[in-house]
Symmetry: C2
Subunit: 407 residues, 2 copies
């Protein structure tokens, strides 16, 4: 393989969420045992934005149509997004995170939070750099760092061995910085484990980053969807040097607006400037008309988000009840977000085969744990932003198949 | 400057089209002569998609709204775009270009044609490679190649010295391939010059690329908008090795659908596969709901596109009449697309200052020629997809200022 073939060989999307339909009939299909299980198919690889589950927030389509009618000024914004819209969103994010954001200098609107992540990392990291990354964490983080020719320094998070703190190994994080890592990238709430970093963990991250002059990229995509009793600390509202921090959010998940593909990154103006330059050659700008949907963000009807969070919490609790009834399953209660990341008992088939059998025999699509960490082969990720009843039944079918294939 | 600062210093967007609003009050404002000229402001840096000029094609908004109502299946497509939609678009592109396209294997839907360009180049080129690029050509081509750490080998196009052929220096192209360039990137119709490559030029590009085993990325964004008497040759319908060719199009321009930010790339399956892997970490997918608008592409009402092309041709002719009345202006008649790229006579102020004065004194925004080639400082690019009357009056004001600042 030549250099570019090697580069792309590391970017496999074969098991990436959402790509299941691209999977071809493989040469070696796993040997199925027993009959298929009837029931409504559930795709846990992403949230369900249909009316039967969690539809886009009210007013979003109307805001889009208004944007189309505004014409050219909405279609062609600055690359970093429309100026008035940036001010409006920045005001909400200042309140939400507890630290000021300048819409003029410190915020960029991107095509999805994936776009924001790519731009943030590519604006910070170059070939040969070392980047500290949590295990487990969002599957694209590793691929982004590898694509840029940088080196990953893993930092473990013992989410199953903790319940108050997320369980980040702060000693490993310091060792990573000592070894020369100048960037730390993490999601909070963590994707896939659904855990939230404690106030002390966030304070320690800030202290270490300041001490070693590291840049931190905090992916806070799910930070609005927090369950009862969860305390959340925004890194940007701590002693962290703001000139070395980018925070990423977006209306894609909690608000079920992912079909509009919008994200925002906010923080150090010098990095936002770079991100805009890069956006200019990567995608030019977030879709002009879609940007208009951001006018509804943090402006949902009173009580709407509280209801939505309570609905997710009820699904979480019911799924956990089923999962914890399966011998050998370990599942930490998600404190925020819509992901469950249970560790399964030992099975008689390899983990990727089990994921395939689950799809074929039970109509249940999950994302294999290896997408998130090489140590998570025995875990599966479930996005439980689904129709409540269908999700519970799908997990019951999953339980049946776990018994059928138990080692 | 460290490595990453240098990398971003080359990506300046200060004079990029659409970024004019970000320009700060500069330290050294050019000294204006005379009074400001009244008239409707015209932003020639991009097309005008308002109702008073060229509104989005009929049915586009309805197709979008239908997409939103389809829910999750439209919001979450495969990363390369919805399967049925890819088949539909591929059938149109097969007919349009005269060579078959497989929607399943050979086509990807991207966030804008800018997204397609980025992915195509990043899927083909890696650090240290040589890439042949036309001068003048689309401003992002150079920046994309530089961002990837590759080296530009320029190939000149004498568009002012030719009228039937585009004027590509085929000797320089061969020399570029001989010197090791393995990728050739060009727009046809050319942006900014509006010229179309002749059948012979395209045949020569194919022959040279085949001989040297080079990959060609053909940006055909404007290839639907062709004026009377223009013969157009699709590179992919020639003897060019299809395994080394990516063609890029999109409904953004001719159809005034740029606010939806959609592009497509089609060609070699091995490169489309890489582009999808990269899209997965750069932006995940083109906006789910926006993809639905592609159902209207190449399916416009009968006669609609003919009328639209005739309207553009009439504006082109009226603007050329004014421009050719200015002593010392050289302007080749665009054969396709909506760009004019006149060379101005010698002025008493530097070219970038003239562009600023034009904005400040005449309400006319143009893109400076240096964005397209270091040799084009004395040219300006005008996107004439505008309200007809406003465009003519804006060019008359431009003529007045040229006289005022003539050297």
């Amino acid at each position: 393989m030549n250099a570019i073939e090697q580069k792309f060989a590391r970017l496999s999307t074969d098991n990436a969420p959402g790509q299941e339909v691209r999977l071809r009939a493989e040469g070696s299909q796993p040997q199925a045992k027993g009959e298929n299980l009837p029931g409504t198919p559930v795709d846990f690889s992403h949230g369900d934005v249909n009316d039967s589950a969690f539809a886009p927030t009210p007013g979003s389509l109307e805001a889009f149509v208004d944007g189309v009618h505004r014409g050219g000024e909405q279609a062609y914004t600055e690359y970093r997004g429309g100026a008035a819209l940036r001010e409006r969103v920045a005001a909400h994010l200042s309140t939400f995170t507890g630290a000021p954001v300048s819409g003029d200098r410190e915020l960029i609107i991107t095509p999805g939070t994936q776009g924001a992540l790519f731009l943030a990392i590519a604006a910070t990291v170059t070939a040969g750099d070392k980047v500290a990354i949590v295990r487990p964490d969002y599957f694209a983080n590793r691929k982004l760092v590898e694509f840029l020719g940088a080196e990953i320094v893993p930092v473990d998070m013992d989410y199953l061995g903790n319940d108050v703190r997320a369980g980040l190994d702060l000693g490993q994080l310091e060792a990573a910085f000592k070894s020369g890592a100048k960037t730390f990238l993490f999601s909070n709430p963590n994707n896939p484990a659904g855990v939230v970093y404690s106030k002390e963990e966030i304070a320690q991250i800030a202290a270490l980053a300041n001490q070693y002059g590291a840049t931190v990229i905090a992916d806070q995509l799910y930070s609005r969807l927090r369950y009862t009793g969860t305390e959340y600390t925004h890194l940007r509202a701590t002693a962290m040097n703001p000139d070395n921090l980018i925070t990423i959010m977006g209306p894609s998940k909690t608000e079920s607006l992912s079909g509009y593909r919008l994200g925002v990154a906010f923080g150090a103006a010098r990095l936002i400037d770079r991100m805009e330059k890069l956006q200019a050659i990567v995608s030019l700008r977030a879709p002009g008309y879609c940007q208009a949907v951001l006018t509804t963000w943090f402006e949902e009807p009173k009580g709407y988000m509280d209801t939505r969070i309570a609905q997710h919490q009820a699904i979480r609790d019911d799924l956990l009840k089923v999962l914890r009834g399966i011998e050998g399953v370990a599942a930490r209660t998600p404190q925020a977000g819509s992901y469950l990341f249970p560790r399964l008992p030992k099975l008689s088939v390899p983990p990727l085969d089990f994921v395939r059998l689950l799809r074929q025999q039970a109509g249940v699509i999950v994302t294999p744990g290896t997408e998130f960490s090489p140590h998570s082969a025995d875990s599966i990720r479930l996005n439980f932003s689904q129709n409540h009843q269908a999700a519970v039944q799908a997990i019951e079918r999953t339980a049946t198949l776990i018994e059928r294939y138990r080692a």
